[in-house]
Assembly symmetry: C2
Homo-oligomer: 335 residues x 2
């Protein structure tokens, strides 16, 4: 017993010493910037201030680690969404790849427009046309097959302007922000209008976000036994649209807790930001404003993809942080 | 710089010493039983063997921590489901509580049967009657209000036979199993046919399972601004049935990865166990067989709640572990 206590005491002493040195290290390293790609300014400072206050034990705004939930939109908030959503580019490529098996598409809109590269006609097909494209290209295979299709496509597809893989067109300042929040005990979720199964194969590698922490739109799947083996088949029927008012619904369904911080860039994120911030306790809302036509894109109120209009006004009214990409970000993409 | 290296070296030495002592402690404690409420036998040994092989680095069956996903049914697997599902008892109590505001229920089935305590007529109303009860008692309020209703009810309701709060009628051996798996790097999810919002308010406290790691059936919710504040309202419309073939679908939607271990107790868990185990790599399936009428309940092929029939035969064919509650468990409930 004495020996046991002796060892335990020795251990405690060691732990104390180690803790002291580690904390000492942190104090000494206080000059290390957790957000090196952010220029000094109101946006950066608002993030640092928020994280400091919710993590200060004993402080009036302290939030327990279990409740430190942060939600991020994906397209336009974590990666490029111009000249079109990446998933849209994927769907168009899939139409071309599948066309030989669908001779009828040559005379059927919106497929005809895709095959002829007529973006004007395609745009005119509207949401209904888009949905038809998505259902035709995202269903009919098993879930494992779809994951492979997405992974293979992302490995070879290139962004038309930057001529780089889409996975490399993520925002370095946002990667730092995700890591900074996680280092401070936050759970980080993606809450995207995009298809959840299109994102989950790569979010862990690219953002450090596990697949179950990705919320998105989805089509239905069906369980069946095929040749004696259990499979899930993707069927051409909408399951959930995770956009606008659907985002708080998706958060309630998948995240199961009200976040204390939300990050978006368009009107599709308005309700998510409202749901997150318009309640008691310390809350944080942030909108990425695309203002940098040279290094990325400049767009807001009139954009076709990622329109930022009502939410830009709401940001002022609700005191959400608005990131001016050109001014606030030292670099856009990872080096 | 020299000073910095010196400090780093000192730190590394300290960490090594601490690691050695900590690991030493683990080795010395190897005799400690991680499943003390399980009797020695095939069931317990099969769990220990599986965990050992998937966590042995360099071994042929090693599974990376990110892929160590375990899914648990709730009713009858983690807590008592007789004489009726707890959520059913909740729904009946809610009908009684809401009856004054619904005078029409006195003459309308299945509400009339509930108010008159006529369980036979209620049972005859079947799944459709049950659904009607659930929709009537689980919708019409905000999500926050529903959480409060559930929490308040669980704080006062008592099980009719054991006269204890439902939260205390959880299986001690399964609590140990959940903790044991998590200690070995597993993520533990609940995948229940029950309502997800009925479970999430208390699973962290009772099982150590965070609300976002609970999958279940659900009704729809709708975002709206009420008096200038964002709310989610529960609407009387089914969203998802997480039972039978729905369980693999729910796992795909919420857990986003195929589990390597699944735990259930009824035919409702069959497809989840098939989906988990009938594929390549090390897999584990377990069924809790209720064989202890004295300490809990004894039921299987003919039970109304938690029928275990097809899945009991499938367990043999698929070499799933079958727990004989009476023989394998030293205690049933936490002391």
């Amino acid at each position: 017993m004495t020996q046991r206590i002796g060892r335990r005491y020795f251990l405690l002493t060691l732990i104390s010493a180690l803790t002291f040195l580690t904390l000492g290290g942190r104090v000494l390293d206080a000059g290390t910037d957790p957000l090196p790609s952010w220029n000094e300014g109101d946006a950066k400072q608002s993030i640092l201030d928020f994280v400091a206050k919710v993590t200060t034990a004993g402080g009036p705004d302290f939030v327990a680690p279990d409740d430190r939930i942060a939600v991020f939109d994906n397209d336009g908030t974590l990666w490029v969404e111009q000249p079109m959503y990446t998933q849209m580019a994927f769907a168009l490529d899939r139409v071309k790849a599948l066309a030989p098996a669908h001779p009828e598409w040559k005379n059927k809109q919106p497929f005809k427009a895709v095959l002829e590269g007529d973006m004007k006609v395609l745009a005119e097909s509207g949401e209904r046309g888009l949905l038809e494209l998505v259902l035709a290209t995202h269903s009919g295979m098993t879930t494992d097959e779809f994951t492979k299709i997405v992974t293979d496509w992302l490995a070879t597809a290139r962004h038309p302007r930057f001529n780089k893989p889409y996975e490399s067109l993520v925002y370095q300042p946002m990667l730092e922000l995700l890591a900074y929040l996680r280092a401070n005990g936050f759970k980080t979720f993606i809450v995207s209008g995009g298809g959840v199964e299109f994102m989950r194969p790569w979010t862990k590698k690219v953002y450090g976000v596990s697949p179950e922490q990705v919320v998105g739109s989805s089509i239905k799947t069906k369980f069946e036994m095929r040749d004696g083996m259990p499979i899930l088949v993707r069927i051409p029927e909408l399951n959930f649209i995770d956009d606008k008012g659907g985002k708080p619904v998706g958060i309630y369904q998948y995240v199961a807790q009200r976040p204390i911080a939300a990050f978006g860039n368009s009107d599709g994120d308005l309700e998510m930001l409202q749901w997150t911030t318009m309640t008691n306790g310390p809350r944080f809302g942030l909108i990425v404003h695309h203002t940098d036509a040279e290094r990325e894109y400049a767009y807001d109120r009139k954009s076709h993809f990622g329109r930022l209009d009502v939410a830009l006004d709401a940001a002022v009214a609700n005191k959400w942080t608005v990131v001016d990409m050109k001014k606030d970000w030292k670099v856009i993409f990872p080096p």
